[in-house]
């Protein structure tokens, strides 16, 4: 009798619906991933093997394009941080009225397709830029050199990643009581550079990592801009591979997932030990 009561009591306490929705949600994400993994392991008929992975990784183009995209991602993240963090910080601190306008601007990449962006970049920077009404050359065509084209590519990536990076930084600033921290640092003698480097950036650590991760994912998977600028990026390589191979793209897609998870784990690791922001008690 008592045992039956205990069982009923335990069942009543068990959050059945929560678990059901959790399992359904997990299946929705895990099953396609499992299917990709399973497919990528069946390159040899009737045998489970890593053949697709070794085939993909042994292609010299894979490493070349992967390295290029990673370097571009790092450059994009660095330039985005240098541009967006001080801008977002200054807007919140000094010109809060401009926030709506800037938010609208940062949403433009959702409205303007990448194809328009890249044609715009090529149209403007593919020709020499002169001082208006003169023949004095201000800037040589950027598309004529690898460095110039890479710069254009990074600029395109920065625009594409801007909505994510801006929001990550803005949310991070909102959570950290930045006005009081800034004023505290100022009253202690810190100048703007010290405040940015020693107060703002360290306390935005997890927000910056989130923004950087999203930027990384966008840059590594981007196809349109890099294709039209004819750069050896990972996105176009993966797309081309998918046109004439079947198992290797699946292997690389799963590899990309692993990379993303590793990055998310890194964020947890780095932000886990971070102190609570002031006033958040």
């Amino acid at each position: 009798m008592k045992r039956a009561f205990n069982l009923r009591y335990s069942l009543r306490r068990f959050p059945f619906w929560s678990w059901l929705w959790f399992i359904l949600g997990a299946l929705y994400f895990i099953l396609p991933l499992y299917a990709t993994l399973d497919f990528s392991l069946r390159m040899k008929r009737g045998v489970i093997s890593l053949q697709a992975y070794s085939s993909a990784f042994s292609d010299p183009q894979f490493f070349q394009t992967f390295l290029f995209s990673n370097l571009m991602a790092l450059a994009t993240i660095f330039i985005s941080l240098v541009l967006i963090v001080p801008t977002c910080y200054w807007i919140r601190l000094r010109v809060p009225a401009a926030r709506r306008i800037v938010e609208f601007i940062t949403l433009m990449p959702f409205v303007i397709p990448a194809i328009i962006l890249v044609f715009g970049l090529i149209a403007i920077y593919g020709a020499p830029i002169n001082i208006p009404f003169t023949s004095i050359n201000l800037l040589a065509p950027l598309t004529e050199s690898d460095l110039g084209t890479n710069l254009l590519l990074a600029a395109g990536y920065i625009v594409l990643a801007m909505p994510y990076m801006y929001r990550a930084v803005d949310t991070g600033l909102q959570a950290m009581n930045m006005r009081a921290l800034t004023e505290a640092a100022q009253s202690l003698g810190a100048n703007w550079f010290t405040i940015m480097i020693r107060v703002i950036f360290p306390n935005l650590r997890s927000a910056l990592l989130s923004g950087a991760l999203l930027t990384f994912a966008i840059v590594v998977g981007e196809v349109t801009i890099s294709s039209f600028l004819n750069r050896p990026a990972f996105g176009p390589y993966l797309w081309l591979l998918g046109q004439h191979r079947s198992y290797e793209p699946a292997a690389l897609a799963f590899f990309s997932f692993l990379l993303t998870w590793a990055a998310m784990g890194l964020i947890q690791l780095v932000s886990g030990g971070q102190g609570q922001v002031s006033g958040a008690h």
Partner: protein, 349 residues
């Protein structure tokens, strides 16, 4: 000589005046509180001293140096904020040493100063902890130590105790006062809590709607308020409409009863004068050489150490505070009673 001087300072935000013609002189080592309700301009004035706001007009001088437009990081003014504003990514020791580090002070000297400051706030063992590992009161003590570590010329405190619970608030305010007296540091303290301002200040600046209402010692502010605003904002005050019977003899009338006040100046001979008397000046019963009034008990409220009796005197309500002694014989609600108060305890506004 005046240490900190604020002359004719005004501040407006988008043509809305927030501080008007503020004048104050503070001596070295003095503890001055800005007291007033929300929106009276006390924090804005403090922020102008810190350099976070620029005055629309006027001059701020510190040690005879014009600092009105000087950048906040060049003023050497320590500031303590309501929200503590400790750097969450730094340990307590690093927080306290931040200002010295910014000044490129040698590491060993920073360590010595940090240890001194941790000892001053009785948190010697907590140097390696992070702000989120401390209570609110401890965090605010660290914020105080951080502001003091740089040996500021003036210490500014912007409602530093508002976010703390009542008991910690009382403890910490005496600690702040002790530290201030020990170091002899000139301090400006902003608060809307009158008890806080009166208990720790050498002088109190009462502000209302952007201007100074009165500057004085706590005793002057409480016992000799110069304006109706100060009288009613600081402490409890009964304001009873009266009719002046004889100005030179100081006689006024409440309903049908006569009250003797001190001589009535011409200034208060206005159309609708009010008799001001604090609730703690009123006593039960009859007394010779005092004002005696008859009334009826309206309500009785227990406030812990004090019992507040609200009386109806000829249609005017007056509050009376009595010490809550065990043997206190209280009248009943609705009962007629007689009260008395000394002539010197009341004045006309």
């Amino acid at each position: 000589m005046t240490y900190l001087s604020i002359s004719n300072v005004s501040k407006a935000f988008s043509n809305t005046p927030v501080v008007s013609d503020f004048n104050l002189e503070v001596d070295k080592g003095e503890f001055v509180s800005f007291l007033g309700p929300s929106g009276c301009g006390k924090t804005t004035t403090l922020r102008m001293i810190a350099g976070f706001e620029l005055p629309t007009s006027g001059v701020i001088r510190l040690e005879n140096e014009d600092i009105t437009y000087k950048a906040p990081n060049q003023r050497n003014v320590g500031m303590v904020f309501q929200s503590y504003a400790l750097f969450p990514n730094l340990t307590l020791a690093q927080n306290i040493g931040f200002g010295l580090d910014v000044r490129k002070t040698p590491k060993d000297m920073i360590q010595v100063r940090v240890n001194e400051m941790l000892a001053l706030i009785h948190l010697e063992e907590f140097g390696k902890r992070y702000p989120h590992q401390l209570s609110g009161g401890q965090q605010q003590r660290v914020a105080l130590a951080r502001a003091l570590a740089i040996r500021p010329r003036v210490l500014l405190l912007d409602e530093p105790l508002s976010a703390l619970d009542a008991k910690i608030r009382v403890e910490l305010r005496s600690e702040i006062r002790n530290i201030q007296q020990k170091l002899g540091i000139t301090t400006i303290y902003v608060t809307h809590d009158q008890e806080e301002a009166l208990s720790i200040s050498d002088r109190v600046v009462v502000m209302g709607l952007g201007h100074i209402e009165q500057v004085g010692t706590p005793n002057e502010i409480y016992n000799y308020p110069k304006t109706e605003f100060v009288a009613s904002f600081v402490g409890q005050l009964n304001l009873v409409p009266v009719a002046v019977l004889n100005a030179s003899q100081g006689l006024v009338r409440i309903g049908s009863q006569t009250v003797q006040t001190q001589q009535i100046s011409e200034k208060v001979g206005s159309d609708h004068p009010s008799l001001a008397v604090r609730p703690e000046e009123l006593h039960l019963g009859h007394a010779e050489d005092a004002n005696n009034l008859h009334g009826k008990v309206d309500t009785i409220t227990y406030l812990g150490a004090i019992v507040r009796i609200r009386l109806d005197i000829d249609g005017h309500f007056v509050s009376m505070d009595l010490f809550n002694e065990r043997k206190l014989a209280l009248p009943k609600v609705g009962e007629p009673i007689e009260i008395h108060f000394p002539v010197h305890a009341c004045w006309l506004l």
